[in-house]
Symmetry: C2
Subunit: 308 residues, 2 copies
Protein backbone atom coordinates (compact mmCIF):
# COMPACT_ATOMS: atom_id res chain seq x y z
CA UNK A 1 0.00 0.00 0.00
CA UNK A 2 2.96 2.33 0.45
CA UNK A 3 5.52 4.10 -1.71
CA UNK A 4 3.25 5.26 -4.45
CA UNK A 5 2.32 8.75 -5.58
CA UNK A 6 -0.80 10.43 -4.14
CA UNK A 7 -3.98 10.18 -6.19
CA UNK A 8 -7.15 12.19 -6.64
CA UNK A 9 -10.57 10.52 -6.73
CA UNK A 10 -13.84 12.21 -7.67
CA UNK A 11 -17.29 10.65 -7.25
CA UNK A 12 -19.80 12.47 -9.45
CA UNK A 13 -23.35 11.89 -8.20
CA UNK A 14 -26.73 13.22 -9.27
CA UNK A 15 -26.88 15.68 -6.36
CA UNK A 16 -23.31 16.08 -5.15
CA UNK A 17 -19.75 15.59 -6.32
CA UNK A 18 -17.22 14.42 -3.77
CA UNK A 19 -13.45 14.57 -4.18
CA UNK A 20 -10.70 13.10 -2.01
CA UNK A 21 -6.92 12.89 -2.15
CA UNK A 22 -5.17 9.73 -1.02
CA UNK A 23 -1.58 9.94 0.17
CA UNK A 24 1.16 7.40 -0.48
CA UNK A 25 -0.35 5.12 2.18
CA UNK A 26 -3.90 5.35 0.76
CA UNK A 27 -5.02 7.61 3.61
CA UNK A 28 -7.48 10.42 2.89
CA UNK A 29 -5.59 13.71 3.29
CA UNK A 30 -8.17 16.04 1.73
CA UNK A 31 -11.84 15.93 0.84
CA UNK A 32 -14.35 18.35 -0.63
CA UNK A 33 -18.01 18.21 -1.65
CA UNK A 34 -19.97 20.47 -4.02
CA UNK A 35 -23.47 20.29 -5.48
CA UNK A 36 -23.31 18.79 -8.98
CA UNK A 37 -24.19 21.18 -11.78
CA UNK A 38 -26.19 19.24 -14.36
CA UNK A 39 -25.41 18.74 -18.04
CA UNK A 40 -22.09 17.93 -19.68
CA UNK A 41 -20.56 21.37 -19.04
CA UNK A 42 -21.86 21.43 -15.47
CA UNK A 43 -20.47 17.99 -14.69
CA UNK A 44 -17.04 18.92 -16.05
CA UNK A 45 -16.98 22.28 -14.24
CA UNK A 46 -18.04 20.70 -10.93
CA UNK A 47 -15.43 17.94 -11.19
CA UNK A 48 -12.68 20.43 -12.03
CA UNK A 49 -13.65 22.73 -9.14
CA UNK A 50 -13.80 19.88 -6.62
CA UNK A 51 -10.56 18.38 -7.89
CA UNK A 52 -8.66 21.66 -7.73
CA UNK A 53 -9.98 22.44 -4.26
CA UNK A 54 -8.89 19.02 -3.04
CA UNK A 55 -5.39 19.52 -4.43
CA UNK A 56 -5.19 22.93 -2.79
CA UNK A 57 -6.32 21.49 0.56
CA UNK A 58 -3.71 18.73 0.26
CA UNK A 59 -1.02 21.23 -0.69
CA UNK A 60 -0.30 19.31 -3.89
CA UNK A 61 0.11 20.16 -7.54
CA UNK A 62 -1.37 17.96 -10.23
CA UNK A 63 2.16 16.96 -11.20
CA UNK A 64 2.53 15.34 -7.76
CA UNK A 65 -0.26 12.87 -8.55
CA UNK A 66 0.13 9.27 -9.69
CA UNK A 67 -3.26 9.53 -11.35
CA UNK A 68 -6.84 10.76 -11.24
CA UNK A 69 -9.88 8.52 -11.02
CA UNK A 70 -13.55 9.38 -11.62
CA UNK A 71 -16.66 7.45 -10.62
CA UNK A 72 -19.89 8.39 -12.40
CA UNK A 73 -23.29 6.79 -12.98
CA UNK A 74 -24.33 5.64 -16.44
CA UNK A 75 -22.64 3.59 -19.10
CA UNK A 76 -18.90 4.08 -18.99
CA UNK A 77 -16.23 2.83 -21.37
CA UNK A 78 -13.33 2.65 -18.91
CA UNK A 79 -10.83 2.29 -21.76
CA UNK A 80 -11.74 5.60 -23.42
CA UNK A 81 -13.29 7.47 -20.50
CA UNK A 82 -16.50 8.07 -22.47
CA UNK A 83 -19.76 8.32 -20.53
CA UNK A 84 -23.23 7.82 -22.01
CA UNK A 85 -26.83 7.80 -20.79
CA UNK A 86 -26.07 9.24 -17.34
CA UNK A 87 -29.73 10.24 -17.21
CA UNK A 88 -29.80 11.77 -13.71
CA UNK A 89 -26.88 14.04 -14.61
CA UNK A 90 -28.46 15.25 -17.84
CA UNK A 91 -25.61 13.70 -19.80
CA UNK A 92 -26.35 11.86 -23.01
CA UNK A 93 -22.77 11.53 -24.16
CA UNK A 94 -19.57 13.03 -22.79
CA UNK A 95 -15.89 12.28 -23.46
CA UNK A 96 -15.29 12.91 -19.77
CA UNK A 97 -11.89 11.23 -19.50
CA UNK A 98 -10.22 13.13 -22.31
CA UNK A 99 -11.82 16.48 -21.39
CA UNK A 100 -10.64 16.22 -17.77
CA UNK A 101 -7.21 14.91 -18.80
CA UNK A 102 -6.73 17.95 -21.05
CA UNK A 103 -7.94 20.43 -18.41
CA UNK A 104 -5.95 18.89 -15.57
CA UNK A 105 -2.87 17.78 -17.47
CA UNK A 106 -3.02 14.32 -15.90
CA UNK A 107 -3.96 10.75 -16.75
CA UNK A 108 -7.64 10.27 -15.87
CA UNK A 109 -9.35 6.90 -15.39
CA UNK A 110 -13.16 6.97 -15.57
CA UNK A 111 -15.33 4.12 -14.33
CA UNK A 112 -18.91 3.46 -13.35
CA UNK A 113 -19.61 4.61 -9.78
CA UNK A 114 -20.86 1.19 -8.68
CA UNK A 115 -17.55 -0.35 -9.76
CA UNK A 116 -15.65 2.44 -7.98
CA UNK A 117 -17.67 1.76 -4.82
CA UNK A 118 -16.75 -1.95 -4.94
CA UNK A 119 -13.07 -1.01 -5.07
CA UNK A 120 -13.54 1.43 -2.19
CA UNK A 121 -15.37 -1.21 -0.15
CA UNK A 122 -12.56 -3.74 -0.66
CA UNK A 123 -10.09 -1.11 0.50
CA UNK A 124 -12.23 -0.26 3.54
CA UNK A 125 -12.45 -3.95 4.45
CA UNK A 126 -8.69 -4.35 3.91
CA UNK A 127 -9.23 -7.27 1.52
CA UNK A 128 -6.99 -6.68 -1.46
CA UNK A 129 -7.63 -10.18 -2.87
CA UNK A 130 -11.33 -9.74 -2.23
CA UNK A 131 -14.12 -11.98 -3.48
CA UNK A 132 -16.57 -9.17 -2.91
CA UNK A 133 -19.74 -7.84 -4.52
CA UNK A 134 -21.15 -4.36 -4.03
CA UNK A 135 -24.91 -4.39 -4.58
CA UNK A 136 -26.39 -0.96 -5.19
CA UNK A 137 -30.12 -0.46 -4.59
CA UNK A 138 -30.76 2.91 -6.16
CA UNK A 139 -33.54 3.82 -8.57
CA UNK A 140 -32.43 0.63 -10.29
CA UNK A 141 -30.26 -2.23 -9.10
CA UNK A 142 -26.70 -2.89 -10.23
CA UNK A 143 -23.73 -4.72 -8.82
CA UNK A 144 -19.97 -4.75 -9.19
CA UNK A 145 -17.86 -7.76 -8.27
CA UNK A 146 -14.23 -8.31 -7.46
CA UNK A 147 -12.95 -11.87 -7.85
CA UNK A 148 -9.51 -12.36 -6.39
CA UNK A 149 -9.33 -8.55 -6.12
CA UNK A 150 -10.05 -7.94 -9.83
CA UNK A 151 -13.13 -6.26 -11.22
CA UNK A 152 -15.34 -8.44 -13.40
CA UNK A 153 -16.35 -6.43 -16.44
CA UNK A 154 -17.56 -8.83 -19.12
CA UNK A 155 -18.21 -7.90 -22.71
CA UNK A 156 -18.97 -4.17 -22.97
CA UNK A 157 -18.85 -3.76 -19.15
CA UNK A 158 -22.18 -5.61 -19.02
CA UNK A 159 -21.37 -7.70 -15.92
CA UNK A 160 -23.45 -6.91 -12.83
CA UNK A 161 -26.87 -6.26 -14.38
CA UNK A 162 -28.34 -8.67 -11.86
CA UNK A 163 -31.46 -6.56 -11.31
CA UNK A 164 -32.95 -7.87 -14.54
CA UNK A 165 -33.10 -11.55 -13.69
CA UNK A 166 -36.82 -12.39 -13.44
CA UNK A 167 -37.50 -14.19 -10.14
CA UNK A 168 -41.19 -13.75 -9.44
CA UNK A 169 -43.52 -13.81 -12.46
CA UNK A 170 -46.41 -12.45 -10.32
CA UNK A 171 -44.55 -9.33 -9.18
CA UNK A 172 -45.49 -7.03 -12.02
CA UNK A 173 -43.75 -5.46 -14.96
CA UNK A 174 -40.25 -4.01 -14.87
CA UNK A 175 -39.11 -0.82 -16.58
CA UNK A 176 -37.04 -3.09 -18.82
CA UNK A 177 -40.22 -4.72 -20.15
CA UNK A 178 -39.87 -8.07 -18.44
CA UNK A 179 -42.06 -9.31 -15.59
CA UNK A 180 -40.92 -9.96 -12.04
CA UNK A 181 -37.29 -8.82 -12.23
CA UNK A 182 -35.43 -8.42 -8.92
CA UNK A 183 -35.55 -4.68 -9.68
CA UNK A 184 -39.36 -4.77 -9.54
CA UNK A 185 -39.15 -6.05 -5.97
CA UNK A 186 -36.31 -3.94 -4.60
CA UNK A 187 -35.46 -1.12 -7.02
CA UNK A 188 -36.13 2.35 -5.62
CA UNK A 189 -38.12 3.49 -8.64
CA UNK A 190 -40.69 0.72 -8.42
CA UNK A 191 -40.82 0.93 -4.60
CA UNK A 192 -41.69 4.64 -4.90
CA UNK A 193 -44.39 3.84 -7.48
CA UNK A 194 -46.03 1.34 -5.13
CA UNK A 195 -45.72 3.48 -2.00
CA UNK A 196 -47.37 6.41 -3.82
CA UNK A 197 -50.63 4.42 -3.60
CA UNK A 198 -50.28 3.91 0.17
CA UNK A 199 -50.05 6.18 3.24
CA UNK A 200 -46.43 5.09 3.75
CA UNK A 201 -43.06 6.48 2.81
CA UNK A 202 -39.92 4.36 2.69
CA UNK A 203 -38.33 5.84 5.85
CA UNK A 204 -41.42 4.96 7.91
CA UNK A 205 -42.30 1.66 6.23
CA UNK A 206 -40.59 -0.68 8.68
CA UNK A 207 -42.05 1.08 11.71
CA UNK A 208 -45.54 0.75 10.22
CA UNK A 209 -44.84 -2.91 9.47
CA UNK A 210 -43.69 -3.50 13.04
CA UNK A 211 -46.86 -1.79 14.26
CA UNK A 212 -48.78 -4.48 12.39
CA UNK A 213 -50.08 -2.73 9.27
CA UNK A 214 -50.55 -5.54 6.74
CA UNK A 215 -49.94 -3.39 3.67
CA UNK A 216 -46.67 -2.21 5.17
CA UNK A 217 -45.70 -5.77 6.15
CA UNK A 218 -46.37 -7.03 2.62
CA UNK A 219 -44.34 -4.25 1.02
CA UNK A 220 -41.42 -4.53 3.47
CA UNK A 221 -41.25 -8.29 2.88
CA UNK A 222 -41.42 -7.79 -0.89
CA UNK A 223 -38.45 -5.40 -0.83
CA UNK A 224 -36.44 -7.52 1.61
CA UNK A 225 -37.11 -10.64 -0.46
CA UNK A 226 -35.74 -8.86 -3.50
CA UNK A 227 -32.62 -7.84 -1.57
CA UNK A 228 -32.22 -11.38 -0.19
CA UNK A 229 -32.56 -12.92 -3.67
CA UNK A 230 -29.99 -10.49 -5.06
CA UNK A 231 -27.56 -11.43 -2.28
CA UNK A 232 -28.13 -15.14 -2.89
CA UNK A 233 -27.72 -14.70 -6.65
CA UNK A 234 -24.38 -12.91 -6.43
CA UNK A 235 -22.95 -15.38 -3.90
CA UNK A 236 -23.98 -18.34 -6.09
CA UNK A 237 -22.80 -16.71 -9.32
CA UNK A 238 -19.53 -15.14 -8.16
CA UNK A 239 -18.72 -16.99 -4.93
CA UNK A 240 -18.54 -13.65 -3.12
CA UNK A 241 -17.31 -13.88 0.43
CA UNK A 242 -18.76 -10.45 1.30
CA UNK A 243 -21.79 -8.70 -0.19
CA UNK A 244 -21.77 -4.99 0.59
CA UNK A 245 -25.21 -3.35 0.40
CA UNK A 246 -25.67 0.30 -0.46
CA UNK A 247 -27.64 2.84 -2.45
CA UNK A 248 -30.58 5.10 -1.68
CA UNK A 249 -33.00 2.32 -0.69
CA UNK A 250 -30.61 0.99 1.96
CA UNK A 251 -29.68 4.48 3.19
CA UNK A 252 -33.34 5.48 3.48
CA UNK A 253 -34.51 2.31 5.25
CA UNK A 254 -31.45 0.67 6.84
CA UNK A 255 -33.71 -1.71 8.74
CA UNK A 256 -34.22 -3.57 5.45
CA UNK A 257 -30.73 -5.05 5.86
CA UNK A 258 -31.61 -6.97 9.02
CA UNK A 259 -34.97 -7.99 7.56
CA UNK A 260 -33.15 -9.36 4.49
CA UNK A 261 -30.69 -11.23 6.71
CA UNK A 262 -33.68 -12.68 8.57
CA UNK A 263 -35.26 -13.90 5.31
CA UNK A 264 -31.94 -15.43 4.22
CA UNK A 265 -31.78 -17.29 7.55
CA UNK A 266 -35.35 -18.53 6.96
CA UNK A 267 -34.37 -19.81 3.51
CA UNK A 268 -31.44 -21.66 5.08
CA UNK A 269 -33.84 -23.51 7.40
CA UNK A 270 -35.35 -25.14 4.27
CA UNK A 271 -32.04 -25.87 2.57
CA UNK A 272 -28.88 -27.39 4.01
CA UNK A 273 -27.08 -26.20 0.87
CA UNK A 274 -28.00 -22.58 1.59
CA UNK A 275 -27.27 -23.12 5.30
CA UNK A 276 -23.74 -24.22 4.37
CA UNK A 277 -23.18 -20.85 2.68
CA UNK A 278 -24.21 -18.77 5.74
CA UNK A 279 -25.53 -15.99 3.54
CA UNK A 280 -26.59 -13.64 6.40
CA UNK A 281 -22.99 -13.51 7.62
CA UNK A 282 -21.78 -12.42 4.17
CA UNK A 283 -23.98 -9.30 4.14
CA UNK A 284 -22.06 -6.15 5.06
CA UNK A 285 -23.12 -2.52 5.37
CA UNK A 286 -20.45 0.15 5.57
CA UNK A 287 -20.83 3.64 7.10
CA UNK A 288 -22.92 5.76 4.74
CA UNK A 289 -20.68 8.76 5.44
CA UNK A 290 -17.54 7.02 4.19
CA UNK A 291 -16.59 8.14 0.64
CA UNK A 292 -16.25 4.62 -0.82
CA UNK A 293 -16.77 5.62 -4.45
CA UNK A 294 -14.31 8.54 -4.34
CA UNK A 295 -11.66 6.35 -2.67
CA UNK A 296 -12.24 3.53 -5.15
CA UNK A 297 -11.96 6.03 -8.00
CA UNK A 298 -8.69 7.35 -6.58
CA UNK A 299 -7.30 3.81 -6.27
CA UNK A 300 -8.21 2.92 -9.84
CA UNK A 301 -6.90 6.30 -11.04
CA UNK A 302 -3.59 5.44 -9.41
CA UNK A 303 -3.57 2.18 -11.37
CA UNK A 304 -3.71 0.22 -8.14
CA UNK A 305 -7.02 -1.51 -8.73
CA UNK A 306 -9.63 -2.37 -11.26
CA UNK A 307 -7.57 -2.30 -14.41
CA UNK A 308 -8.37 -6.00 -15.05
CA UNK B 1 0.05 -21.15 -28.44
CA UNK B 2 3.42 -22.51 -29.58
CA UNK B 3 6.79 -23.36 -28.06
CA UNK B 4 5.61 -25.07 -24.95
CA UNK B 5 6.00 -28.62 -23.76
CA UNK B 6 3.28 -31.18 -24.56
CA UNK B 7 0.65 -31.80 -21.88
CA UNK B 8 -1.62 -34.63 -20.82
CA UNK B 9 -5.28 -34.04 -19.98
CA UNK B 10 -7.64 -36.56 -18.42
CA UNK B 11 -11.41 -36.09 -18.06
CA UNK B 12 -12.76 -38.50 -15.45
CA UNK B 13 -16.50 -39.02 -15.92
CA UNK B 14 -19.05 -41.23 -14.21
CA UNK B 15 -19.08 -43.74 -17.08
CA UNK B 16 -15.87 -43.11 -19.02
CA UNK B 17 -12.46 -41.58 -18.61
CA UNK B 18 -10.96 -39.79 -21.59
CA UNK B 19 -7.33 -38.84 -21.99
CA UNK B 20 -5.63 -36.71 -24.62
CA UNK B 21 -2.14 -35.39 -25.29
CA UNK B 22 -1.66 -31.89 -26.67
CA UNK B 23 1.50 -31.09 -28.58
CA UNK B 24 3.45 -27.84 -28.45
CA UNK B 25 0.83 -26.20 -30.69
CA UNK B 26 -2.14 -27.37 -28.55
CA UNK B 27 -3.11 -29.97 -31.16
CA UNK B 28 -4.44 -33.37 -30.02
CA UNK B 29 -1.80 -35.98 -30.91
CA UNK B 30 -3.19 -38.90 -28.91
CA UNK B 31 -6.47 -39.84 -27.27
CA UNK B 32 -7.81 -42.83 -25.37
CA UNK B 33 -11.04 -43.72 -23.60
CA UNK B 34 -11.72 -46.37 -20.94
CA UNK B 35 -14.75 -47.18 -18.78
CA UNK B 36 -14.30 -45.57 -15.36
CA UNK B 37 -13.85 -48.03 -12.49
CA UNK B 38 -15.73 -46.65 -9.48
CA UNK B 39 -14.39 -45.84 -6.06
CA UNK B 40 -11.18 -44.02 -5.12
CA UNK B 41 -8.87 -46.88 -6.16
CA UNK B 42 -10.81 -47.46 -9.39
CA UNK B 43 -10.68 -43.78 -10.35
CA UNK B 44 -6.93 -43.61 -9.76
CA UNK B 45 -6.28 -46.88 -11.63
CA UNK B 46 -8.40 -45.79 -14.60
CA UNK B 47 -6.72 -42.39 -14.81
CA UNK B 48 -3.25 -43.94 -14.65
CA UNK B 49 -4.09 -46.52 -17.32
CA UNK B 50 -5.58 -43.93 -19.68
CA UNK B 51 -2.74 -41.51 -19.07
CA UNK B 52 -0.03 -44.08 -19.72
CA UNK B 53 -1.77 -45.35 -22.85
CA UNK B 54 -2.00 -41.78 -24.17
CA UNK B 55 1.69 -41.18 -23.56
CA UNK B 56 2.54 -44.46 -25.30
CA UNK B 57 0.36 -43.53 -28.30
CA UNK B 58 2.07 -40.13 -28.48
CA UNK B 59 5.52 -41.70 -28.19
CA UNK B 60 6.29 -39.55 -25.15
CA UNK B 61 7.67 -40.12 -21.72
CA UNK B 62 6.20 -38.35 -18.70
CA UNK B 63 9.42 -36.32 -18.45
CA UNK B 64 8.58 -34.80 -21.84
CA UNK B 65 5.43 -33.20 -20.42
CA UNK B 66 4.98 -29.63 -19.29
CA UNK B 67 2.22 -30.80 -16.97
CA UNK B 68 -0.77 -33.03 -16.36
CA UNK B 69 -4.33 -31.79 -15.86
CA UNK B 70 -7.36 -33.65 -14.56
CA UNK B 71 -11.04 -32.75 -14.82
CA UNK B 72 -13.40 -34.54 -12.44
CA UNK B 73 -16.93 -33.96 -11.12
CA UNK B 74 -17.52 -33.04 -7.48
CA UNK B 75 -15.99 -30.51 -5.18
CA UNK B 76 -12.37 -29.88 -6.09
CA UNK B 77 -9.76 -27.83 -4.28
CA UNK B 78 -7.60 -26.91 -7.28
CA UNK B 79 -4.77 -25.72 -5.01
CA UNK B 80 -4.32 -29.09 -3.28
CA UNK B 81 -5.83 -31.45 -5.87
CA UNK B 82 -8.23 -32.88 -3.27
CA UNK B 83 -11.61 -34.13 -4.52
CA UNK B 84 -14.69 -34.62 -2.33
CA UNK B 85 -18.32 -35.70 -2.77
CA UNK B 86 -17.91 -36.97 -6.34
CA UNK B 87 -21.08 -38.98 -5.73
CA UNK B 88 -21.42 -40.59 -9.17
CA UNK B 89 -17.85 -41.88 -8.98
CA UNK B 90 -18.28 -43.40 -5.52
CA UNK B 91 -15.68 -41.00 -4.16
CA UNK B 92 -16.24 -39.35 -0.80
CA UNK B 93 -12.74 -37.95 -0.43
CA UNK B 94 -9.60 -38.51 -2.48
CA UNK B 95 -6.25 -36.69 -2.56
CA UNK B 96 -6.27 -37.23 -6.32
CA UNK B 97 -3.63 -34.67 -7.23
CA UNK B 98 -0.94 -35.90 -4.87
CA UNK B 99 -1.65 -39.59 -5.54
CA UNK B 100 -1.38 -39.12 -9.33
CA UNK B 101 1.65 -36.84 -8.98
CA UNK B 102 3.45 -39.51 -6.98
CA UNK B 103 2.51 -42.33 -9.36
CA UNK B 104 3.32 -40.39 -12.53
CA UNK B 105 6.27 -38.37 -11.28
CA UNK B 106 4.79 -35.16 -12.69
CA UNK B 107 3.06 -31.98 -11.57
CA UNK B 108 -0.70 -32.63 -11.65
CA UNK B 109 -3.39 -29.91 -11.67
CA UNK B 110 -6.89 -31.10 -10.71
CA UNK B 111 -9.99 -29.06 -11.39
CA UNK B 112 -13.74 -29.49 -11.58
CA UNK B 113 -14.81 -30.92 -14.94
CA UNK B 114 -17.20 -28.04 -15.67
CA UNK B 115 -14.33 -25.57 -15.26
CA UNK B 116 -12.12 -27.75 -17.48
CA UNK B 117 -14.85 -27.78 -20.13
CA UNK B 118 -15.05 -23.97 -20.09
CA UNK B 119 -11.31 -23.80 -20.76
CA UNK B 120 -11.65 -26.35 -23.56
CA UNK B 121 -14.54 -24.43 -25.09
CA UNK B 122 -12.55 -21.17 -25.10
CA UNK B 123 -9.71 -23.01 -26.83
CA UNK B 124 -12.11 -24.54 -29.37
CA UNK B 125 -13.57 -21.10 -30.11
CA UNK B 126 -10.07 -19.60 -30.32
CA UNK B 127 -10.95 -16.90 -27.81
CA UNK B 128 -8.07 -16.71 -25.37
CA UNK B 129 -9.38 -13.51 -23.75
CA UNK B 130 -12.83 -15.02 -23.64
CA UNK B 131 -15.83 -13.66 -21.79
CA UNK B 132 -17.44 -17.08 -21.89
CA UNK B 133 -19.66 -19.24 -19.70
CA UNK B 134 -20.03 -22.98 -19.99
CA UNK B 135 -23.46 -24.03 -18.67
CA UNK B 136 -23.71 -27.73 -17.86
CA UNK B 137 -27.17 -29.33 -17.69
CA UNK B 138 -26.45 -32.70 -16.13
CA UNK B 139 -28.28 -34.30 -13.21
CA UNK B 140 -27.80 -30.87 -11.66
CA UNK B 141 -26.86 -27.52 -13.19
CA UNK B 142 -23.51 -25.82 -12.81
CA UNK B 143 -21.56 -23.24 -14.75
CA UNK B 144 -17.99 -22.11 -15.18
CA UNK B 145 -17.09 -18.64 -16.43
CA UNK B 146 -14.04 -17.07 -17.97
CA UNK B 147 -13.81 -13.30 -17.73
CA UNK B 148 -11.04 -11.87 -19.86
CA UNK B 149 -9.82 -15.44 -20.27
CA UNK B 150 -9.53 -16.12 -16.54
CA UNK B 151 -11.63 -18.59 -14.58
CA UNK B 152 -13.87 -17.09 -11.92
CA UNK B 153 -13.58 -19.21 -8.80
CA UNK B 154 -14.85 -17.17 -5.84
CA UNK B 155 -14.44 -18.15 -2.22
CA UNK B 156 -14.00 -21.93 -1.94
CA UNK B 157 -14.57 -22.38 -5.70
CA UNK B 158 -18.25 -21.61 -5.09
CA UNK B 159 -18.76 -19.48 -8.22
CA UNK B 160 -21.10 -20.96 -10.83
CA UNK B 161 -23.78 -22.53 -8.61
CA UNK B 162 -26.39 -20.73 -10.70
CA UNK B 163 -28.79 -23.69 -10.64
CA UNK B 164 -29.90 -22.77 -7.13
CA UNK B 165 -31.28 -19.32 -7.82
CA UNK B 166 -35.06 -19.60 -7.27
CA UNK B 167 -36.90 -18.20 -10.29
CA UNK B 168 -40.38 -19.74 -10.21
CA UNK B 169 -41.92 -20.25 -6.78
CA UNK B 170 -44.66 -22.45 -8.29
CA UNK B 171 -42.26 -24.93 -9.90
CA UNK B 172 -41.87 -27.33 -6.99
CA UNK B 173 -39.18 -28.20 -4.53
CA UNK B 174 -35.50 -28.58 -5.41
CA UNK B 175 -33.16 -31.25 -4.08
CA UNK B 176 -31.41 -28.40 -2.26
CA UNK B 177 -34.57 -27.75 -0.24
CA UNK B 178 -35.60 -24.48 -1.86
CA UNK B 179 -38.60 -24.02 -4.15
CA UNK B 180 -38.46 -23.18 -7.85
CA UNK B 181 -34.69 -23.21 -8.45
CA UNK B 182 -33.54 -23.15 -12.08
CA UNK B 183 -32.40 -26.72 -11.45
CA UNK B 184 -36.02 -27.76 -10.77
CA UNK B 185 -36.94 -26.59 -14.27
CA UNK B 186 -33.96 -27.84 -16.27
CA UNK B 187 -31.84 -30.19 -14.17
CA UNK B 188 -31.72 -33.76 -15.50
CA UNK B 189 -32.62 -35.33 -12.18
CA UNK B 190 -35.88 -33.44 -11.76
CA UNK B 191 -36.74 -33.80 -15.47
CA UNK B 192 -36.42 -37.59 -15.13
CA UNK B 193 -38.61 -37.54 -12.01
CA UNK B 194 -41.37 -35.68 -13.88
CA UNK B 195 -41.12 -37.74 -17.08
CA UNK B 196 -41.42 -40.97 -15.07
CA UNK B 197 -45.07 -40.04 -14.50
CA UNK B 198 -45.70 -39.56 -18.26
CA UNK B 199 -45.45 -41.76 -21.37
CA UNK B 200 -42.50 -39.67 -22.59
CA UNK B 201 -38.76 -39.99 -22.41
CA UNK B 202 -36.43 -37.04 -22.87
CA UNK B 203 -35.17 -38.09 -26.36
CA UNK B 204 -38.75 -38.23 -27.71
CA UNK B 205 -40.17 -35.28 -25.77
CA UNK B 206 -39.78 -32.61 -28.46
CA UNK B 207 -41.26 -34.84 -31.17
CA UNK B 208 -44.28 -35.48 -28.95
CA UNK B 209 -44.56 -31.76 -28.27
CA UNK B 210 -44.41 -30.98 -31.98
CA UNK B 211 -47.12 -33.58 -32.56
CA UNK B 212 -49.29 -31.50 -30.23
CA UNK B 213 -49.34 -33.46 -26.97
CA UNK B 214 -50.08 -30.84 -24.33
CA UNK B 215 -48.23 -32.61 -21.51
CA UNK B 216 -45.15 -32.82 -23.71
CA UNK B 217 -45.51 -29.16 -24.74
CA UNK B 218 -45.75 -28.04 -21.12
CA UNK B 219 -42.72 -30.06 -20.06
CA UNK B 220 -40.59 -29.01 -23.06
CA UNK B 221 -41.40 -25.35 -22.40
CA UNK B 222 -40.64 -25.76 -18.70
CA UNK B 223 -37.17 -27.16 -19.46
CA UNK B 224 -36.42 -24.64 -22.21
CA UNK B 225 -37.52 -21.78 -19.95
CA UNK B 226 -35.09 -23.00 -17.31
CA UNK B 227 -32.30 -23.11 -19.90
CA UNK B 228 -33.24 -19.64 -21.21
CA UNK B 229 -33.28 -18.17 -17.70
CA UNK B 230 -29.88 -19.69 -16.94
CA UNK B 231 -28.47 -18.16 -20.14
CA UNK B 232 -29.96 -14.76 -19.30
CA UNK B 233 -28.66 -14.94 -15.73
CA UNK B 234 -25.07 -15.69 -16.70
CA UNK B 235 -25.00 -12.99 -19.39
CA UNK B 236 -26.36 -10.39 -16.95
CA UNK B 237 -24.10 -11.50 -14.10
CA UNK B 238 -20.85 -12.08 -15.96
CA UNK B 239 -21.29 -10.19 -19.22
CA UNK B 240 -20.54 -13.38 -21.14
CA UNK B 241 -20.20 -12.92 -24.87
CA UNK B 242 -20.73 -16.64 -25.52
CA UNK B 243 -22.72 -19.14 -23.48
CA UNK B 244 -21.79 -22.72 -24.35
CA UNK B 245 -24.48 -25.29 -23.50
CA UNK B 246 -23.65 -28.89 -22.69
CA UNK B 247 -24.32 -31.83 -20.41
CA UNK B 248 -26.58 -34.86 -20.60
CA UNK B 249 -29.86 -32.96 -20.97
CA UNK B 250 -28.56 -31.07 -24.02
CA UNK B 251 -26.93 -34.18 -25.55
CA UNK B 252 -30.11 -36.21 -25.08
CA UNK B 253 -32.49 -33.57 -26.46
CA UNK B 254 -30.46 -31.17 -28.60
CA UNK B 255 -33.67 -29.62 -29.92
CA UNK B 256 -33.99 -27.88 -26.54
CA UNK B 257 -31.27 -25.46 -27.63
CA UNK B 258 -33.32 -23.97 -30.47
CA UNK B 259 -36.44 -23.94 -28.31
CA UNK B 260 -34.50 -22.01 -25.64
CA UNK B 261 -33.22 -19.57 -28.28
CA UNK B 262 -36.81 -19.11 -29.42
CA UNK B 263 -37.95 -18.32 -25.87
CA UNK B 264 -35.09 -15.84 -25.45
CA UNK B 265 -36.18 -14.13 -28.67
CA UNK B 266 -39.75 -13.97 -27.32
CA UNK B 267 -38.49 -12.34 -24.11
CA UNK B 268 -36.63 -9.78 -26.21
CA UNK B 269 -39.90 -8.79 -27.89
CA UNK B 270 -41.11 -7.55 -24.48
CA UNK B 271 -37.89 -5.85 -23.49
CA UNK B 272 -35.70 -3.52 -25.50
CA UNK B 273 -33.02 -4.03 -22.84
CA UNK B 274 -32.95 -7.78 -23.49
CA UNK B 275 -33.20 -7.17 -27.23
CA UNK B 276 -30.06 -5.04 -27.04
CA UNK B 277 -28.16 -8.04 -25.61
CA UNK B 278 -29.17 -10.42 -28.44
CA UNK B 279 -29.13 -13.40 -26.11
CA UNK B 280 -30.04 -16.04 -28.76
CA UNK B 281 -26.88 -15.16 -30.71
CA UNK B 282 -24.70 -15.72 -27.63
CA UNK B 283 -25.85 -19.35 -27.23
CA UNK B 284 -23.33 -21.83 -28.62
CA UNK B 285 -23.32 -25.62 -28.82
CA UNK B 286 -20.09 -27.41 -29.65
CA UNK B 287 -19.75 -30.89 -31.19
CA UNK B 288 -20.60 -33.47 -28.49
CA UNK B 289 -17.78 -35.70 -29.71
CA UNK B 290 -15.10 -33.08 -29.12
CA UNK B 291 -13.14 -33.73 -25.87
CA UNK B 292 -13.52 -30.23 -24.41
CA UNK B 293 -12.97 -31.22 -20.78
CA UNK B 294 -9.84 -33.29 -21.49
CA UNK B 295 -8.38 -30.49 -23.61
CA UNK B 296 -9.22 -27.89 -20.99
CA UNK B 297 -7.62 -30.10 -18.33
CA UNK B 298 -4.47 -30.44 -20.45
CA UNK B 299 -4.28 -26.67 -20.93
CA UNK B 300 -4.65 -25.97 -17.22
CA UNK B 301 -2.19 -28.78 -16.42
CA UNK B 302 0.31 -27.05 -18.67
CA UNK B 303 -0.21 -23.87 -16.66
CA UNK B 304 -1.60 -22.13 -19.72
CA UNK B 305 -5.04 -21.40 -18.39
CA UNK B 306 -7.23 -21.29 -15.36
CA UNK B 307 -4.61 -20.70 -12.69
CA UNK B 308 -6.22 -17.37 -11.80
Amino acid sequence: MSNRAPSLGIDIGATKTQGIVLDAHARVIADRVRPTEPGPDGVVATALAVGRECLSLAGLDVTDLGGVGIGIPGRVDHRTGAVSTAVNLGVDHLALGSVLAEELGAVVHVDNDVKATALGAADYLRTRDADLTYLNFGTGIASATLVGGRLIRGEGNLAGEVGHVPVDPSAGRCGCGQFGCIEVLAGGGRIADRLAATPFSLPGLLNSAEAGDQTAVTEALRIANGIATAVQLVVLAYGSDRVVLGGGVIRTAPGLVDLSRHLLAQRAEQSSFLASLDLPARVVVLPATYPLAAIGAALSGAGQRGQG
